[in-house]
């Protein structure tokens, strides 16, 4: 039961990183992909209807950790106090920026919202990688590398997503941004690879290699204008990376803490399992439906309806 819930937590984090990963990338790239206000609306329109639902994956992951592994939840959040605090601050300014952007009036206020969106996307995208890098290795280098990896992959993922969801100038710029981001992400990803062997179970070596291969495939596919497949590839890369991280963590989710020590009693875990099994398919179905409703590309002809 403990192992099963660890996998559930890893699944929720994976969902969060895959979905919010492109939200962060889109937010970070906002000024770079846009030449005009119409462009900016086009870029943000790609995540407008979905980002809030994506963020709930984090809330659910954290809530599930609280319920299933209280000691892990409290140890992680109090141990990484200031980084977690900065993540939250970033999420606050990003959320407010995204929600209020369409409701403010002056150019200056819109610029302020944009600043919130960019800061609130870059900061968490970097910090999550830094937090997990530090958790795994405990060194300053690992912290910086982890942060650089998560930020660059998020930017790549976001750029591919924008390229997939738009047309015209924004799409062209997003493709170029994706290639540039890949130039940054590949060396970082490759430099983290050698640290995996011997740390976790043997299969983590496989997922790490899969992540690197998926990343390379993603770049190739963007180059070839196959944006849908490129997005699948970057999503796979993030999934495989998260699996690797949690595979290594499975032995000790925090230094000096085992999963069994951190876990709740079987009664709680069993009940949550049943409720989760009933509810989660529904959640996945209606979130998927949202993406279906907003599946078409956004064009540049903006109707600036007020």
């Amino acid at each position: 039961m403990t192992t099963f819930w660890f996998i559930v937590i890893a699944f929720l984090w994976t969902g969060y990183f895959v979905l919010e990963g492109f939200d962060f990338g889109v937010g970070a790239l906002l000024p770079l992909l846009s030449r005009s206000e119409a462009d900016r609306r086009q870029v943000l329109g790609t995540i407008g209807p979905v980002w809030d639902g994506n963020e709930v994956w984090l809330i659910t992951a954290i809530g599930a950790m609280f319920a299933a592994f209280p000691a892990w939840y409290s140890g992680l959040l109090s141990g990484f106090y200031l980084p977690v605090f900065l993540v939250i601050t970033g999420l606050i300014v990003r959320g407010v920026g995204l929600e209020w952007r369409g409701k403010v009036h002056s150019r200056r206020e819109v610029a302020l919202c944009d600043a919130g969106i960019v800061t609130g996307s870059v900061l968490p995208a970097f910090l999550w990688g830094a937090i997990f890098g530090n958790l795994l290795f405990g060194t300053a280098l690992a912290t910086v590398l982890g942060g650089a990896l998560s930020l660059s992959v998020a930017v790549l993922h976001g750029a591919v997503f924008v390229a997939l969801k738009t047309t015209g100038g924004v799409r062209a710029r997003a493709r170029r941004a994706a290639l540039l981001a890949a130039v940054g992400a590949m060396p970082v990803a490759l430099s983290t690879l050698p640290s995996v062997p011997g740390r976790g179970p043997l299969w983590t070596l496989g997922t790490a290699l899969l992540a690197a291969a998926a990343l390379a495939a993603g770049v190739t596919l963007v180059w070839g204008r196959r944006e849908g497949w490129a997005f699948a590839a970057t999503a796979t890369a993030i999934t495989a990376t998260t699996a690797t991280v949690f595979g290594v963590l499975s032995a000790a989710p925090l230094p000096g803490l085992t999963l069994a020590e951190a876990a709740s009693a079987p009664y709680t875990l069993t009940l949550l399992t049943w409720i989760g099994l009933i509810a989660l398919p529904g959640v996945l179905a209606y979130q998927a439906w949202t993406y279906w409703v907003f599946r078409k590309r956004l064009t540049a002809e903006v109707s600036l309806s007020a």
């Binding site: 119409a38 609306r41 329109g45 407008g48 209807p49 979905v50 980002w51 809030d52 639902g53 963020e55 809330i59 659910t60 954290i62 809530g63 599930a64 609280f66 319920a67 592994f69 209280p70 939840y73 409290s74 959040l77 109090s78 141990g79 106090y81 200031l82 977690v84 605090f85 939250i88 999420l91 606050i92 959320g95 407010v96 929600e99 209020w100 369409g102 409701k103 403010v104 009036h105 709740s264 009693a265 009664y267 709680t268 009940l271 409720i275 509810a279 959640v283 209606y286 979130q287 949202t290 409703v293 907003f294 078409k296 956004l298 064009t299 903006v302 109707s303 600036l304 309806s305 007020a306």
Partner: protein, 495 residues
């Protein structure tokens, strides 16, 4: 001043803000969904305009509820790691359920509602809003069930220094939760009702060229205001006002009724909070209730607490002595003035809001409306003095719900889990004073700035008023579920 004090301040500050925005979200969401339902059923343009107008205000506020909620989810682990480790098995479950069953529903369907005006069939679009609103209300249930467990822990046993859940059903149907959920949710509707009344009052005055204070003319704020004659919509405001008054009056009655129930539960479960709220020093048979300092009604407290005017109600000093015997020497008394005055402010401000809504219902009754010629779309919806009263009463329900929360949570001190874990033993041991000071300072400033920004943004949109009739989204059959290629990047109705 140590890390514990600052951590408590941080929880207080962040939660009071959260508790301002979220009740408004809960109540206003239902109000907007009601308006859109009315539009869907009648096809009257008034309802569409009102939906869009209040929908915009709802979304501005919704953003703040969401972002301040993120902090709550993390804060238990960051500042209260000992508490989290002790209670996670029991307390974490409703939080996880809240995210899984309520937050996903709320945020996903709200996104569909905001951007789905011209992409979804009308009926489905309306259902999306209801799904989101149900999510908000459901989240209130789960978080209040968790909160109720802190005050009246049930369905658990303590094993190896950690609470272990033995009965989830007992936790979810905790008597304290069942009294608290309707109390707080209904209070949320009162807060939203008070907000809507103030907005309508402001619009009614403004459209008549009157200021909020008697004798003052409304100032024109924008160049647009000066050049275009103010659109007057008395009939529409009357409809909106009636709906808000009915909502506030019914919710107010529920708040009062469930408040009485909560009082009786306090008598059984948290005698210290009841004694502190009343300032009762010693165990007293036939305890009086003080309406104001010096004005006491004999036997009323006993009557309220136990439905028996002669019943004995425990007093602060005697409970302190009993707790020392049971739990060892410590101070078991909460901050008496804060609890005492919170209780009185809550009751009086809450009742005043209820009174306002009843008065409003009387003023807008049908017969009177006919006399004023409102059936022909003429006449003012309410007298100017009542509109002014509505605007000025805006802080009342908001203050009432905040003081209610202060009463409930400060009255719980010094426990985080009544009888099991004290606040001083709950704080994170590894987090330094400096760290808490930094986060407290940043959250306080950030929340303050954002609250001011929200206030300014709301006021601006209220001043601008409802938009002129836009071409309504076509009949359901004419709206394709998705277009071949999106030509609009922003929602048609630009929320």
């Amino acid at each position: 001043m140590d890390a514990l004090d600052l951590a408590r301040w941080q929880f207080g500050v962040t939660t009071v803000y959260h508790f301002l925005f979220v009740p408004l979200t809960i109540g206003l969401g239902v109000y907007v969904a009601g308006l859109q339902t009315a539009w869907h059923r009648t096809g009257r343009e008034h309802y569409l305009r009102l939906t869009r107008f209040f929908g915009k205000l709802f979304l501005i506020n919704f953003a703040m509820g969401v972002v301040t909620g993120i902090v709550q989810e993390f804060q238990f682990g960051m500042n209260w790691s000992e508490y989290s480790t002790f209670v996670g098995d029991v307390f974490g479950a409703p939080l996880a359920l809240e995210a899984l069953l309520a937050f996903f529903l709320e945020s996903t369907f709200l996104g569909l509602w905001i951007f789905g005006w011209d992409r979804l069939p009308k009926r489905v679009h309306l259902a999306c809003l209801w799904a989101a609103v149900i999510g908000s209300n459901l989240s209130a249930y789960f978080i209040l069930a968790a909160n109720a467990w802190m005050k009246h822990p049930v369905g658990y046993e303590v094993v190896d220094g950690r609470a272990r859940m033995t009965d989830l059903w007992a936790v979810l149907t905790n008597s304290t939760a069942l009294a608290q959920v309707p109390h707080v949710v209904a209070a949320s509707f009162v807060v939203a009702g008070g907000f809507v009344l103030a907005v309508i009052g402001y619009r009614v005055l403004r459209e008549r060229g009157l200021g909020v204070l008697p004798g003052r003319r409304a100032r024109t704020v924008t160049a647009e205001d000066a050049t275009t004659p103010m659109r007057r919509l008395p009939d529409m405001w009357r409809t909106a006002l009636r709906a808000a008054l009915v909502m506030t009056a019914i919710a107010g009655a529920v708040v009062a009724g469930t408040g009485d129930l909560s009082g009786r539960l306090l008598h059984e479960q948290q005698p210290m909070k009841l004694a502190a709220a009343e300032g009762l020093r010693h165990d007293t048979a036939g305890a009086p209730f003080s309406i104001a300092p010096g004005v006491e009604v004999p036997g009323l407290l006993s009557l309220l607490a136990a439905h028996d005017p002669a019943a004995t109600v425990q007093g602060v000093d005697d409970i302190q002595a009993r707790y020392e015997k049971a739990f060892g020497p410590a101070d078991y008394t909460p901050n008496l003035p804060v609890v005492f005055w919170s209780f009185r402010v809550m009751i009086n401000f809450g009742m005043a809001t209820l009174g306002l809504s009843v008065l409003g219902l009387w003023l807008t009754r049908k017969r009177r409306g006919r006399r004023a010629g409102q059936h022909a779309g003429q006449g003012e919806p309410v007298p100017a003095w009542f509109a002014r009263l509505c605007v000025l009463a805006l802080p009342l329900p908001a203050t009432a719900i905040i003081t209610g929360w202060l009463l409930s949570e400060i009255g719980r001190q010094p426990w985080t889990v009544q009888g099991e874990l004290m606040t001083a033993a709950s704080v994170s041991p590894g987090v330094s004073l400096t760290e808490v000071a930094i986060t407290l300072a940043v959250f306080t400033v950030l929340y303050g700035v954002l609250a001011l920004a929200e206030g300014a943004l709301l006021l601006r949109h209220v001043k601008a008023g409802p938009e002129l009739p836009a071409p309504a989204p076509g009949p359901a059959a004419a709206v394709p579920p998705a277009r071949a290629e999106e030509t609009r990047l922003t929602p048609t109705l630009m929320y």
